[in-house]
């Protein structure tokens, strides 16, 4: 599912007004499959190309020769890929001595020798993208074989500027790159994560202990497991600001990559995220209205009904027949008429005057004027 999400997001590209989605594929040495992270890269490339005629790829090849990539693809897709060859002659050694004949390189490979000058680099990529666009591919994805190689030739801020400029450009619909986390400082890795919208990392299934202290036999079995499987962690930054974390297992068999979901659901709760959480003691508006509707016993004077003063000795039904039960006439005028309903002996309370404040007769503190 994680892999499907990534491919779909890369294929769909960006919404208008947004920057293109960018995937940062990370690997590290503890997972021996890391050397096969390139297989994941190729797998993504293949799945993007195989979806139809819409998507085209500009591949910037640093790590392997362009012919290697071309040999991977079936001839039908060779037209939808353009390669920027940064592998053959990155330091311009060959071209300085023997300028290459013009008909040497096949049609879809462009040799680039001046890797220090990043604006030229950017313009070559855009030129290839325009080429593909002219051929009828409306979505162009840029894949960079390894940003680690790029960082050898140019400083970090300029590489990041290049990537952000690619993301902003209207011809590019999505972007993904590979980076080896062991070869860089954590600052560099976090900068690449900062500008990307999806981060996929390959981690070992079994964390290997320190080699110096390890028990050899135990580590061999775990090594074997690491050779075939890896954990594929994906962190997606969504548009609403939430982060989606996914974890899957990766299997490499016969050169093809298979993804399977992890059976145990272990949600990684960000630690120390909630320092102090209390129960909500505020009232919502509805609760406040309900509370206002409740009539408290001391706010009324019986409203014409019997006041049951339950003293705990008798049951309620008995006290109803009690002749000494108090019946007090209501304060408002319409309740005066109810006074004569009951037959038993009762106390009638008739107000002296109408315009006195309610409760003023009973309140002894009324005379106080503070």
């Amino acid at each position: 599912m994680a892999e499907g999400l990534i491919v779909r997001s890369l294929r769909d590209g960006s919404l208008p007004g947004e920057h293109a989605p960018a995937l940062c594929l990370e690997d590290s040495l503890p997972s021996p499959l890391a050397s096969h992270s390139h297989a994941v890269f190729r797998h993504l490339l293949a799945s993007l190309l195989s979806t139809g005629t819409g998507t085209a790829v500009v591949l910037v090849a640093f790590h392997r020769s362009p012919s290697f990539y071309l040999s991977l693809l079936s001839p039908t897709f060779r037209n939808s890929i353009r390669l920027l060859d940064c592998y053959s002659d990155p330091l311009a050694w060959k071209s300085n001595h023997h300028p290459p004949p013009s008909s040497h390189s096949p049609q879809n490979i462009t040799l680039l020798t001046n890797l220090n000058h990043l604006p030229h680099f950017l313009s070559s990529i855009l030129h290839l993208a325009k080429d593909l666009g002219a051929q009828g591919h409306d979505r162009v994805t840029v894949a960079i074989d390894s940003v680690t190689h790029m960082l050898r030739h140019a400083p970090l801020p300029s590489v990041l500027q290049l990537l952000t400029n690619l993301r902003c450009h209207e011809k590019i619909s999505s972007l993904f790159w590979l980076i080896h986390t062991d070869l860089h400082e954590p600052k560099v890795i976090s900068s690449f994560e900062y500008i990307s919208t999806m981060i996929a990392s390959l981690q070992p299934i079994v964390q290997l202990p320190d080699y110096a202290n390890a028990n050899i036999s135990a580590s061999i079995t775990s090594l074997e497991e690491n050779y075939s499987n890896a954990k594929f962690n994906v962190r997606l930054k969504r548009r609403n600001g939430r982060v989606k974390l996914l974890c899957e297992e990766l299997l490499i068999e016969q050169g093809s990559v298979k993804f399977s979901s992890v059976p145990s659901v272990s949600s990684v709760v960000a630690q120390n995220l909630i320092p102090k959480v209390q129960f909500n003691i505020q009232l919502s508006d509805k609760e406040r209205m309900d509370r206002a509707n409740v009539v408290l016993p001391f706010e009324h004077q019986g409203n014409g009904q019997n006041i049951e003063i339950y003293d705990g000795r008798r049951s309620l039904s008995e006290s109803q027949k009690d002749p000494s039960s108090i019946k007090i006439g209501g304060l408002s005028e319409q309740k005066r008429g109810n006074n004569n309903k009951s037959e038993k002996g009762e106390i009638h309370y008739i107000r002296d005057s109408d315009d006195e404040q309610p409760d003023s007769d009973e309140d002894p503190d009324d005379d106080l004027d503070i």
């Binding site: 970090l156 600001g241 982060v243 129960f279």
Partner: protein
Amino acid sequence: MATGGGQQERPTRPSSFSRVSSSSFSPASSSSTSTSLPPGVRIGANGAAFVSSGIPDLDRILGGGFLVGSVVMVMEDADAPHHLLLLRNFMSQGIVHGQSVLFAGPTKEPRSFLGTLPSPVVQKEGLKIKHDVSDVQDKEKGLRIAWQYKKYFGEQTAVDSHNRDKKQEFSSDFDLRKPLERQLLNSQNVECISTQDAFDLSKLQNHCLTFVSKLSMKDGINSNAGRIAIQSLCAPQCGYFEKDWDMLSFIRSLRATVQSSNAVAVITFPASVLSNSISKRWQHLADTLLSIRAIPDKDLAKLLTGYQDMLGFLHVHKVAQFNSQVPVILDASTYSLKLQKRKSLVLERLNQAPVEGSSGVSYATSGSCSSSKGSLLDF
């Protein structure tokens, strides 16, 4: 805490708004002094001058707003763009009050960010008056029992409505769906600078200096307050990214400039792209320090109420204090950012979801059951 150390550096603040003596204010005297202050500035506790941050909840949490002459830093989260919400409200509030605004961003066209600024919610006059009257009636109902003392309450309601009026002027609610009017944005007071292609910070520093000197050039009592908003100061794509010490000295000089003027500076920075020691130095340079955290999808739904509406968490690390050695101790330092009715930003305390009766397990243990790593939730 770090706030104690910060106080010793500056016992008096020579900004023109603050009052050194702070006697207890009676309502009558505060109304007379407010006429001499420019719009958007108010005097708070200990005679310190505040400007609103644009979010009324945040003003309340910080004890009045952003202190004039202070530097506010917001630590961004690499995964979520919520720091932009804070910046937008801050800048809109300044423009609405007619204050000068300087904005610096790491994009080629920082002017385009101005197009996303929200406009204030306009409350109709009739509604406002009705709201006041019904409030008084509610109060009367609640106090029905204590009718003998009603004659003493007449004064209180008058003072309350007066305070509410003043509060509306100081900080407004912003509607995030409506953009701010164009003519307000095109005034001379709003400047934008791009930091992406700069190889060092000297240009930005000069801009800030001229901006601040323009503020005090007005002479006289009604010099306006100014707002400096810098987005993602240490963004990795900026040319000066590797120069750690240059960035730190820029912040130090900005702090000194702003301290003796009527400006407030808000700087957002992604702390994750800096090395640990440098990030700590940045955090220590702030007068008020806030941080934004993104929330993982669906993970914490069992632990918090209202989880679906939350955008992210806002954590208050440090609150600036002036003229006082007493540190600010907040009830809660983490708040959730929510959009009320999809338009205005509110900050709410985090509330725990109701404990299920059947489980009968205390929350600390049930929290650790849900995560295999045994995360620490301290209560």
